[in-house]
Symmetry: none
Subunit: 196 residues, 4 copies
DNA sequence: CATGAATGAGGGTTCATTCAT
DNA sequence: GATGAATGAACCCTCATTCAT
């Protein structure tokens, strides 16, 4: 593969960074906090990442590769489009539930405001994810499972937007309720609106 | 109104803060930058706001009151539900176009991660805005303009989620294209899916 | 008299200053706190005192004049030396009890470290007070009430030192016990040691 | 010993802090002045002390441990009570002469007004020192060297109070005369008054 | 690989004081 | 007399990063 390999320490640091950002946004991701979290000194971090910006970049790329991998698995399976869409939503939500910190890292785009490079990775995660949803919708339209009078692009767009909105509210509420049933409700709504 | 009055200077500072956050997120909102923007010294800011946190809070409340006002005007008009929904979307997008900085302030929830109070204002803006959309959808369902087999809450939810997603992509792209046509497309999609 | 007259406002400010210093030392005596205490704005203070240093100076002179007046009354009375000494101690302690803030202002010499002028006033209060005690001791020695084998100066010195130490401990304890009985104990000790 | 160890830099900083406070009270103890005195930058100080408050605390504890050590040596010696008392006074005064700054730090209780923790250390230094004087007086009473008709506590109290008063006057005078002879005078007075 | 020590740049904030009104 | 607004200087402290060891 062309994907970069991460040393154990790097993975450890990346996960610590995700944890910290999850706790208090990018303002909590300081070299001091990070070093404490990994139980090394601050200069030691620079053995593994050339700078803080570079670290965040690796964090995003690390998450991106895992997301793409997950989406690929689902879309490449033998399920029907309806089942695939269900899986896409459920597994995405399960991922957030099992690691809520990621919500901050991935859905708080504004965090990376200053850095074009970071913003563009977040953007690319969004776009590439899009294509998986889009493919499933198109398949569903061809198979007659989903209505065809609305372009697949716009449907995929609405689905992703709704999912994001759902997760963001969950986050703003302080993760104070169970996300999973919300995903089921979302799916019900999607299928109702998409019925041919 | 019972809302707090702002002195000229306060409004000036609030707008400068919005501008700065628009340019570089909360990391650009430093007292130094703010003071330069308003052409006073840093300590002078403290005559008008008790602290930086308090300033951000006022920024959010200032925007909130304006948003609520705009939504109220639209919903209280004599238009049909269909027209109202169209207005809600178009005017919201126009507001963002005429002042893109606001996107950062209002849609980058993660920015306020550290501060429960700020997060809760952003959350409340979201929830209160919701209620306006919801009312319009409900009216449309009663008048037979919108389908009734899907609960109004979920429809409102999808609409807001899609709008946010649309604006966020626009933001991540660096405001590199015209947002308005995207709003029109969104509306087309909404109406197609909501047709009774 | 040659003593300066104080306007009502000046007295009000002086007393507010004493109160503040009593609460938190000279670090609490800020123009902001002072203005709040007197219910005027900060610049208004400068109508009555040319500077903060000048204010403190007036505070000390104000207190000094009152102390000297009190001491004079006692020493000029018709009492015996023994009674006068008793009065000097009791009335001094009563003054502190009725207004503990003064302890800080008068006995925390270090506060004025930076300012020779202020230090010298505190010093002069100490020296002038000394002379009253000294006179009483001398009278007592002449009348045969007190032993004469130790110079009056040294006896007066020990008495004042013990009194100060007593009050300082009371202060450091947070005024957590009744000072008056300690004064009585002190007096017992003095008389026991001074008996001819 | 169980006492905390100080690194060289910490001792250097502590001494610089004492020097600064000696020159101009706590108002002169700024991070900027301190850094200049130690020839490092301000942030460097924070590698050795977590905050300015913590530094002052360490200063006091550092001095306390040295004082207690000195007192212990004297009291544990084989001298007679009379000799021990003489030593206690002389060595204390010598310590102040050789390092007058300490007067400010230890005898300007008001300095720490704002901080309960600091005040309580100063208080504890006072109390613990007390116990050494008390022991010597008691021994002297038992051996018949000192009169027994006045409780040892009160005698110790008078001695400490007189000593403090002596040193404070010396300080207020700007260290303008030799403190040592004053100590001798004090001792003469003590012995005269304490003679059985 | 990792550390202890240090740094320049910058953070938010408070201070006593001034000035025009 | 008093105010609102402003200021220069200074405050304590944190940041990401570097370097010698």
């Amino acid at each position: 593969m062309s994907e970069p390999q991460y040393s154990d320490r790097q993975v450890q640091i990346i996960n610590a960074a995700i944890k910290l950002m999850g706790e208090g946004g990018i303002q909590m991701l300081t070299t001091k906090n990070l070093a404490r979290e990994v139980s090394v000194t601050e200069p030691a971090l620079y053995r593994h990442f050339s700078s803080k910006a570079n670290l965040i970049l690796q964090v995003l790329e690390y998450l991106k590769s895992r997301i793409i991998y997950r989406l690929t698995c689902i879309v490449d399976s033998d399920n029907t489009p309806v089942e695939k869409l269900r899986e896409l939503v459920k597994r995405q939500f399960q991922a957030f539930v099992s690691r809520p910190e990621i919500v901050v890292v991935l859905l708080s785009e504004g965090l990376y405001q200053n850095d074009k490079e970071l913003s563009s990775i977040v953007f690319s995660i969004m776009l590439e994810s899009s294509s998986f949803y889009l493919q499933v919708i198109k398949d569903g339209q061809e198979s007659g499972d989903f209505r065809s009078d609305v372009p697949a692009e716009r449907i995929a767009f609405m689905i992703m937007g709704s999912m994001r909105f759902c997760v963001i509210q969950w986050h703003l509420s302080g993760f104070s309720y169970d996300l999973i049933p919300r995903g089921d409700e979302l799916l019900d709504t999607f299928f109702a609106l998409l019925k041919d």
